[in-house]
Amino acid sequence: MKKIKSICPIAALITILLIGASCERKFDGLPLATYPTTPEVFVDGFSSGLYYAAYGTSKVTAFSVDYNIKYTGVASMKFEVPDTSDPNGSYAGGVFGTNPGRDLSGYNVLTFWAKASEPANIIEVGFGNDMGASKYQVTLTNLAVNSNWMQYYILIPNPSLLKEERGMFFYAAAPKNGRGYTFWIDDLKFEQLGTIAHATFGILNGNDSIKDNVETGDKYTITDMYATYNLPTGINQKVGLAVAYFTFTSSNPAVATVDVFGNVVIADSGWAVITAKLGDTDAEGSLTIHSKGQSVGPTDLPPTPTFAPDKVISLYSDAYTNVIVDTWNTHWLYSTAQNMEIQISGENVMRYWELNFVGIEFTSHPIDASAMSHFNIDIWTPNPTTEKTFKIKLVDFGENGMLGGDDDSEAEVVIASPPLATQQWISLSIPMSAFTGLLSRSHLAQLILSGDLPDVYMDNVYFSDNGAQPTEPTTAAPVPTFIAADVISVFSDHYTNLAGTDFYPDWGQTTVVSEVLIAGNNTLKYTGLNYQGIQLGANQNVSSMGYLHLDFWSVTSVSLSVFLISPGPVEKAYTLTVPTSGWASADIPLSFFSPVDLTDIIQFKFEGNGDIYIDNILFHK
């Protein structure tokens, strides 16, 4: 074919028009549309049936028809965004609709040209807002405009749904830095363009979200629906979509159901994935549910505190008047904790779930607990507690009463199992001295709970003044009653002890070991325990014995465990409940210490904190 060197521009235009006509699709043979298919919304004036309704709180006169500035033809739509201080309305916004609706199923995109008096971002534009349910709304947010006419495209995600659409166009525009500006829109019409391509759709912003440990009855809503599509300029555009464009599916409706509005309800324990489609296209993003079924919680209340009200500063208890707590869940970054108050027998209990850590704040009214001796809290957990911990941190904001300023201090107490236990109320009474590192407790402002228990019910959170605390036992440990023939004694005034035991082997510990007389009875004292060993003079076969017995006393320790050790070393810890109220005695079945070799015991070890008194360490039948 020969190259044509010149062509008359007018002739070319005519040619295009002619071809345009001949290239149009023919609708012969198709059923008549029930509603008009008019593509134009505003080209040089209001199209047939079009009305404008300004938003009630907007400046209602913001929109007008401009016959001077236009992209093509004789007129454009002009939008005068007011100043924030405009008494007639602080923003511009409204809806262009038709009644009856139109059949837009033959189009795939709403297009328009726009420019503005200055570069600005229009908050939102779109279609499908019918001032009612707006079932098929599509929203383009933060539309960037400048002083040049540019073309914009808003995808119709699934045109077959739009058989009777009333919402032709809507917009909302706010002042820029408090000051108004003007923008124009022209040639606003629906089109079928093959130059719009590669549409994808998604829910939940395209994320594959996972909800662990949810319970029967929990509810979630699928949000953040969108479409992306590639413009004729090769770049992608993203718009927000109404939920009605999507169909939702649950992989296991027995576990989680989902309705047409994307509302998810947990029905039972198990696993389910919520996915969506738009038409026949799979949507990106999903919601995975791991449900543990019906929640397990306490049915009874913890023991009612017995301290006199004037000896207590209560944060959370129906037994006392509580101080002001700003929040029981600060929802700090990375905290997944959720909470709600439940009632048991008419009394309030706080429930936490998905607890990794939770901030509890009373910064507006810091607590002066300097006269208090103990921090008390009752907890109940449905979770297994073996080898799990629950942590309690107190934060003091110091003299300035504010976070920061180099006068803050904090300390955390770690509670092990026991005393942690599953499905029973545990009353923790922690001496303030156990909060090592808490330099002051006169401006306490935060309580932070954390640990390994995702589900915790909590009650009776208060500081108490337990009265003058003895610093050492006033009585000797109880005298053991085992007959001597049934005993192998390591440390006791009441039996013949093994020879050669080293009570202060140097294992690098910081514990100070001493032997003190308590009511005339020799007692082992560990001051500032971190860990402490006992080296036996000779290997012992205790396999004929049934129990390890010991007596212990502490008001300052919140963690104490005892290890039995055979060569290897093979060792196993048993947790002792501290602090104690007076002397406590433990008789631990030796079978507990498996796999420690009971025929060949060489050492003991204690681990924990605080000051401990120990007596009558012995094996017995």
Partner: protein, 276 residues
Amino acid sequence: MKKYSTRMVSAAIFSLLFVILIGCHKEDVQKLPQRNYQLTWSDEFDGMAGVSPDSTKWKFDIGNGGWGNAELEYYTNRAANASLDGNGNLAITARKESYSGSAFTSARIKTSGLFEQPYGRFEARIKTPWGPGIWPAFWLLGSNIDSIAWPQCGEIDIMELRGQKPNIISGTVHGPGYSGASGITKSFAFESNRFDVGFHLFAIEWGTDYIDFFVDGTLYQEITPNDVTGNWVFDQPFFMILNVAVGGNYVGFPTNQTPFPQSMLVDYVRVYREVN
């Protein structure tokens, strides 16, 4: 392919109008010359996904800089940048990844030294990538490029596309006195379609005194010795090149809105010799 600025606006407009004219009358039979061709070489790209292009047919160009075009990619021979897709296509994939000092990777393969032919029909069925700064191409270079250099060796661009205009391709020849921005060129545009949503057949039919350019069997440009503003150098064997460039003088920079990765899918490349 090797060129340095945009063409004249009027020429582009002219091309568009011209093509629309043809495009809307596809049912009208063009008066095309009747030529008989016999297949001399082809690659159908059938094989398992992830397999590299047949080394008996293609060589890799490896490195960065785009040979004078100021392209941004590093061309590799990794399967990540060029391999069969398992559906009967070769995928040349441009990726946004830091590699040997470049911010993007891609691939460029050629038949140089493996297959070279003067004259005939050269065709490839291709689905293009898209996005600002993406520059896919199917083109030929004179096999004597190493001895007499470019542009004396000649260059025939059967298909080039700017990713920010995914509905327009161009066909161009370059030679002595008409290279770079002065290449002899014409564009073919879809009014309401794009080259990245389906496969299209791009071809030239090349004889001693003509090069005809086709899209899907529609002739949209014929270049003859009278059209070029220098010596006609299209009288010796040429080899083929397939590549996807990122950035460069022809296409401009990718933007942070350019979607990556981007693949050019090639269903087949076939070469024929004219027979009587």
